[in-house]
């Protein structure tokens, strides 16, 4: 059966008047959900408690109080938590933090002290060897001596002695021919077996392992590996020191209350003291000097258990003990370890640090003595290489000394170093360890000293590098700046070895960028190119070259200036490995997007950046990861958005055309280009105030054509659909009617291709929700699209309806019917005398047909078809399992009729009553919704011309669910 559909005629203007929200003046202090939430850290819990009680108990007094606002006006749970957590963070029970607090209390070592842990990796990476190493462990070496003790020794003592010596009888092992990696693994094994021995209560074995390990530090064969060996073995010592300390600390636990952080020795019980003392006696009897020193230094902290002055007495003794170490390299590392332990345990004891350095200076001459020289000859190690082995240790000692030290001390240290001959090594360490400001202020002095240094000694390029590092951090006096650069670069440019050169140049580029103009930067870049190009030396220096680029773009944010540095682009040409080149391009683009404030049309910038973007784009291939593509596209899009030729729209368009041909492999870029072109068309319209001249009309059509031919190259179907729609709207707005039609037709013909499932973020999802959304959007646009004179009435709407009809919808989904219902909204809007909205300067169907009865009849016919489809569908839902859907759909349809239908028409009125009943029939209707709907009808009935709603309301029974 057919129902004649009567659309209610609407007066949109008056309706909107009625429906507009009443604007309520808002008191600024009032609570508002959109009011920015300012989290104020609560200092006291009390305040919050007060707040919460008032909000719960005083409901009578403040009924307006919002439970949320009561939280917001005072403290929110997060900041409350943060406040509560504050005292916790100040004293968490972990050992690390405790140690940190200890330090804070002694007010010496803060976070500005670069810790050892940050040096370790650097040393391990730098001091490597390809030579074979050996580990020599004599676990039972002193066995012979133990047997000399006569039989008169009491049995117990003897067994104890033997235990000490022979815990691992016959475990003397010599591991030869180890590669560096093997060696490191062995040491790690030892570290592990130390922990195992300790946890299985074999304290003596643990001690032996540590002694044997520290003995390895007296071995200087394969000397170039020594710094790394030191790092590895002192790790073990640190572990040991920690284990002993924690063990003794755990013995002090009295009634389950651990000792306070800064306990005094009086609080330590006798057993703990005795144990501690035992450790010290045991260590004092270690025969060899180097293990005895290292092991005692490792447990230096344990002195705290015995006496207040323990550490301050021990440190000087250990310091002078090092004088007995003959090998200067071994000795200086021993000093570094002592300083490291000292800084950790008692940073306030600065005297020992200084003493260590002065002692080192006293023995400095040994480095050039015969013993050392002979050793180097045997090992075939050059002096400059040998000297660099000292750097980590001296750097560390000086860093400890220089930490918060007054300038006077630093000056004194420097003077002392100056006095020694052949002091480049010291000079270098002074520069790496002392404050940058201190060094920078004396730059010219340092350059002078560096120049005087012996060529055959410590490598000069390292000295200049160290100086450069300081100058990157602190500024030298204004007047010296140029001279410093000249002097330094004079030396740097003479460096023969490309690696030495680039390591140095890398550092000085920063200084140059910081203080000088593009001319100097250009000179420096040119020099780098000149040095790195022969023999393709740049291939081994990508990290340094990259860092040079980084530094240049950190300091030069003005891209016009940057690209006017002539050598900048040639410099980029040195990055010939694609991955590196793309990395560099990315950096540059990131910096551009971050720092470019205004859009630009500077041809220099555009050319350069197009070139860079092209490089990035061309790196994309089938193997490129999605993420990488997204990132590249985002960077290119950022660039495209920053390009503007102002009023020169044609130039702008031709830029977009060029960009399209350049970046055709990155879809997001194409999408961006389409949006940009659409925006350009709209901009043109705005400039012409809607009245296109012949020229602008042609231009706009060119824009539209651009979009029309670009969209099909995209792969994502919804992107295409939305862009068609969007571009069609733009075309319509620019009075390009036939072009708009073409877009809409393309969209219509694309709909059948929408797959049921689409991939979103790598997951397959049903596409229906997206399609529904798109179609509703599409229909809304179609309201204002005028009919084509050569096509039939409502050509596009019919076309779309046919497509929807033929589309294979998911079984058991009501999407099709929902769309049909929405089409009814459109059709009712079309019957109005004046449409709800228009496109400026485009005559829509309301004007074209002027309410022609034939037109209305067409619409009615369409409506009938649609309504009958809906009703058919409702009938098919009569089965048990689909009753709920039936109820929902019926109500949806009912609401549509209520909103858009003219209910004075009896048949329509009857239909709505039937739908109402159908919705409630099987008890699936939501009572609340039904009540609300009824209330709405009653409210509406009070409006003029809506009195028939009163009758309607009477005919709509409410079913209470049982």
């Amino acid at each position: 059966s057919y129902f004649l559909r009567h659309a209610r005629s609407r007066n949109y203007v008056s309706e909107s008047e009625v429906c507009k929200l009443e604007s309520v003046p808002l008191d600024f202090g009032d609570y508002h959900p959109l009011k920015p939430i300012t989290v104020t850290e609560s200092k006291t819990k009390k305040m919050n408690r007060k707040g919460s009680t008032s909000s719960t108990s005083s409901s009578s007094s403040s009924s307006l109080m919002d439970p949320l606002s009561s939280v917001l006006d005072g403290t929110d749970p997060l900041s409350l938590f943060a406040a509560a957590a504050d005292p916790v963070t100040a004293a968490p029970p972990t050992d690390g933090a405790r140690r940190k607090r200890d330090k804070d209390e002694s007010s010496a070592v803060g976070s500005d002290f670069e810790p050892w842990s940050s040096k370790r990796g650097e040393i391990l990476a730098r001091y490597t060897t390809t030579e074979k190493l050996s580990i020599n462990l004599y676990m039972g070496s002193e066995k012979g001596k133990a047997t000399t003790t006569g039989s008169a020794v009491s049995e117990k003592v003897r067994t104890r002695l033997e235990e000490l010596d022979d815990l691992e009888e016959g475990s003397q092992k010599e591991l030869l021919n180890l590669t560096q990696q093997d060696y490191m693994n062995r040491i790690e094994e030892l570290n592990q077996s130390l922990k195992d021995a300790w946890s299985s209560d074999q304290k003596v074995k643990a001690l032996k392992i540590v002694i044997q390990c520290s003995k390895l530090l007296s071995d200087t064969t394969v000397i170039q590996f020594y710094p790394s060996k030191f790092v590895l073995i002192t790790d073990i010592l640190d572990t040991f020191g920690k284990l002993v300390y924690e063990r003794i600390l755990s013995m002090c636990v009295d009634n389950r209350v651990p000792l306070p952080d800064n306990f005094s020795p009086e609080c330590v019980n006798d057993t703990a003291k005795e144990t501690c003392l035992n450790w010290f006696f045991k260590i004092a009897s270690i025969r060899e000097l180097i293990p005895r020193f290292y092991v005692e230094a490792a447990i230096l902290k344990c002195n705290k258990f015995l006496s207040k002055m323990g550490i301050s007495e021990c440190l000087p003794r250990l310091t002078s003990m090092i004088r007995g170490i003959g090998d200067p390299l071994v000795a200086v590392y021993a000093r570094a370890y002592l300083c490291r332990v000292g800084m950790e345990v008692a940073p306030q004891l600065k005297e020992s640090l200084n003493k260590n350095f002065f002692d080192f200076l006293l023995t400095f001459k040994q480095i050039h003595g015969d013993t050392v020289q002979n050793q180097l000859v045997v090992q075939c190690v050059e002096i400059p290489l040998y000297l660099t082995l000292y750097s980590p240790a001296i750097d560390w000692i000086l860093q400890c000394i220089a930490y918060h030290a007054p300038d006077v001390l630093l000056t004194e240290m420097m003077e002392r170093c100056k006095k020694l001959g052949n002091n480049a090594l010291l000079l270098n360490s002074v520069m790496s360890a002392f404050r940058a400001e201190f060094i920078a202020a004396r730059s010219m002095d340092f350059i002078g000293m560096i120049k005087e240094c012996d060529e055959s000694g410590f490598p000069k390029h390292l000295l200049f590098r160290s100086l450069g590092l300081n100058l990157a951090l602190a500024d030298p006096p204004e007047n010296d700046r140029l001279q410093i650069l000249n002097e330094a670069w004079k030396v740097i440019t003479k460096l023969k070895n490309p690696q030495d050169y680039i390591n140095c140049a890398e550092v000085w580029v920063e200084y140059t960028c910081r203080h000088f103009t593009k001319r100097e930067v250009n000179t420096v870049l040119a020099d780098v190119i000149k040095h790195m190009t022969p023999d393709r030396a740049f291939e081994d220096a990508y990290p340094q070259l990259q860092s040079i680029i980084q530094k240049v773009i950190t300091y030069i944010h003005d891209f016009a200036l940057l690209f006017s540095v002539e050598k900048f682009l040639p410099f980029l040409d040195m990055f010939q490995k694609e991955s590196v080149r793309v990395e560099v391009c990315k950096c540059i683009m990131e910096s551009f997007i971050k720092h470019q404030q205004e859009s630009t049309k500077d041809p220099v910038i555009l050319n350069a950046l197009l070139h860079i973007c092209k490089t990035m784009h061309d790196s994309v291939n089938a193997l490129t990861l999605e993420d990488e593509k997204r990132m590249l596209a985002a960077l290119i899009n950022g660039f495209i958005k920053m390009v503007s030729f102002g009023r020169d729209f044609e130039q702008q368009l031709s830029f977009y055309v060029e960009a399209r041909s350049m970046f055709c492999n990155l879809e997001p870029v194409l999408v961006q280009l389409i949006h940009s072109v659409n925006q350009l068309a709209m901009e043109t319209r705005r400039v012409m105030k809607g009245n296109h001249s012949r020229k602008t009309a042609a231009f706009v059509r060119a824009c539209v054509a651009f979009c029309f031919i670009t969209i099909p190259s995209l792969s994502s179907i919804f992107t295409r659909l939305n862009l068609y729609l969007h571009s069609g709207q733009v075309a319509l707005a620019n009075q390009c009617l036939s072009q708009a039609d073409a877009f809409f037709k393309a969209a219509v013909s694309l709909v059948p291709e929408v797959p049921k499932m689409i991939s979103i973020d790598g997951k397959m999802r049903p596409s229906d929700a997206f399609l529904l959304e798109f179609l509703c959007n599409f229909f809304s646009t179609l309201l204002v699209v005028p009919d084509h004179p050569e096509q039939g009435v409502l050509f596009l709407v019919r076309g779309l309806l046919n497509v929807i009809q033929d589309y294979t919808w998911e079984d058991n989904s009501d999407d099709k019917v929902r769309i049909y219902t929405n089409v009814l909204h459109l059709l009712s809007a079309m019957t109005q005398e004046a449409f709800i909205y228009h496109v400026d300067k485009v005559d829509s169907n309301d004007t074209l047909y002027g309410g022609d009865s034939k037109f209305l009849a067409e619409i009615n016919k369409l409506s009938e078809t649609v309504v009958s489809q809906i009703l058919d569908h409702l009938k098919t839902l009569g089965k048990e399992e689909t009753l709920k859907r039936q109820s929902q759909l019926a109500l949806y349809f009912f609401n549509t009729i209520l909103a858009h239908g003219d209910l004075r028409n009896n048949r329509l009125n009857q239909l709505s009553v039937n739908l109402w009943n159908l919705a409630q029939k099987h008890g699936f209707a939501d009572t609340k919704t039904m009540v609300k709907t009824l209330e709405y009808i009653k409210r509406q009935s009070k409006q003029p011309e809506m009195s028939h709603f009163t009758d309607l309301a009477l005919r709509l029974p409410l079913q209470s669910r049982t």
């Binding site: 001596k145 000399t148 003790t149 006569g150 039989s151 008169a152 020794v153 009491s154 117990k156 003592v157 007296s218 019980n269 006798d270 057993t271 003291k273 005795e274 003392l277 010290f280 006696f281 004092a284 009897s285 025969r287 060899e288 000097l289 180097i290 005895r292 003794r317 002078s320 003990m321 004088r323 007995g324 170490i325 003959g326 090998d327 200067p328 071994v330 002692d359 006293l362 023995t363 001459k365 040994q366 003595g369 015969d370 013993t371």
Partner: protein, 297 residues
């Protein structure tokens, strides 16, 4: 094992002095009740002397082991015969450490030929069917501080090829000059031996410098006396070719148990010496000997 016996003294270090009271507990653990014929505690202290094979014949070395010299021996009855309940029983005790007459309480010392040891022995006598239980526990005796002030006796030394004795070919020796001092040869046993050593010059490279602590034990008996010097410990103070002209610290802690205040009695003597041993790279060994006098303050 049904029943176990343990003796524990209170002090963690187990160190006691003349006139003090040893206190502690005897701990008996058993699953069942323990029937016993009395528990007693015995304090024993003795000097064991052994003659080295070097000075007397091998046979005598075994036979002629001098009788142990008893210093102290006293017993107290802790528990009268009876029963002890099952589980853990702790019986506290206090035992005065007191010498009778004008006998001297020597300090605990573990040497090669002389041993001075103190023990606390707990005996639980049981009926014929069960074995008697015994447990001993060593405790350590420190002598009382010596009266009077210790006079420091610093020693300066210079070692050159010329100062050496027992040299066969003085001409083949490399030239060297080593100077130094010990802060005192009169040492407090709890304080380290200290001093300084400077290698002023040495033609050959130095390999190692060590401090050798030596005990000199003398045992007298009817046939005469035996005197033996043996090493206690060897502490390296320099490793490798040390810097010339830079003072190197001499520092040695006296090991516990293996050292005691220098002791001289009618039957035996315990004395200590230190050797400074310089080892040169061509395996020349230079030794300088210093007798020490140890005391407890």
């Amino acid at each position: 094992m049904g029943t176990s016996l343990d003796v524990r003294v209170k002090r963690a270090g187990k160190v006691y002095r003349d006139g003090e009271v040893l206190s502690g507990v005897v701990v008996i653990t058993s699953k069942d009740t323990v029937q016993h014929q009395g528990i007693s505690l015995t304090m024993e202290g003795s000097v064991n002397l052994q003659l080295s094979a070097k000075n007397v014949g091998v046979f005598e070395a075994f036979c002629n082991t001098a009788k142990p010299i008893q210093i102290i021996n006293s017993t107290i009855e802790m528990v009268k015969p009876g029963k002890l309940p099952s589980g853990k029983t702790e019986i506290p005790f206090e035992f005065p450490l007191q010498m009778k007459g004008n006998k001297v309480l020597y300090e605990t010392y573990h040497g090669v030929f002389v041993n001075i040891q103190y023990t606390l022995r707990c005996d639980m006598r049981r009926s014929l069917l069960a074995k008697d239980l015994t447990k001993t526990c060593e405790f350590i005796v420190h002598s009382l501080s010596q009266k009077g002030k210790l006079l420091p006796s610093p020693v300066d030394f210079t070692i050159t090829p010329e100062t050496l004795q027992n040299v066969k070919e003085r001409a083949s020796l490399p030239k060297f000059l080593i100077r130094g001092h010990l802060n005192s040869t009169n040492c407090v046993i709890t304080q380290p031996l200290t001093g300084e050593l400077v290698v002023e010059s040495a033609e050959a490279a130095v390999k190692s410098i060590e401090l050798q602590l030596v005990r000199v034990e003398t045992c007298g008996c009817a046939e005469g006396y035996a005197r033996d010097a043996t090493e206690i410990q060897n502490i390296q103070i320099a490793d490798g070719d040390v810097c010339r002209g830079l003072p190197i610290p001499i520092h040695m802690v006296f090991p516990r148990l293996f050292t005691c205040p220098t002791l001289e009695t009618t039957n035996f003597k315990v004395e200590f010496e230190v050797n400074i041993v310089v080892l040169l790279h061509d395996d020349h060994l230079i030794t300088e000997n210093f007798p020490l006098k140890l005391c407890r303050m």
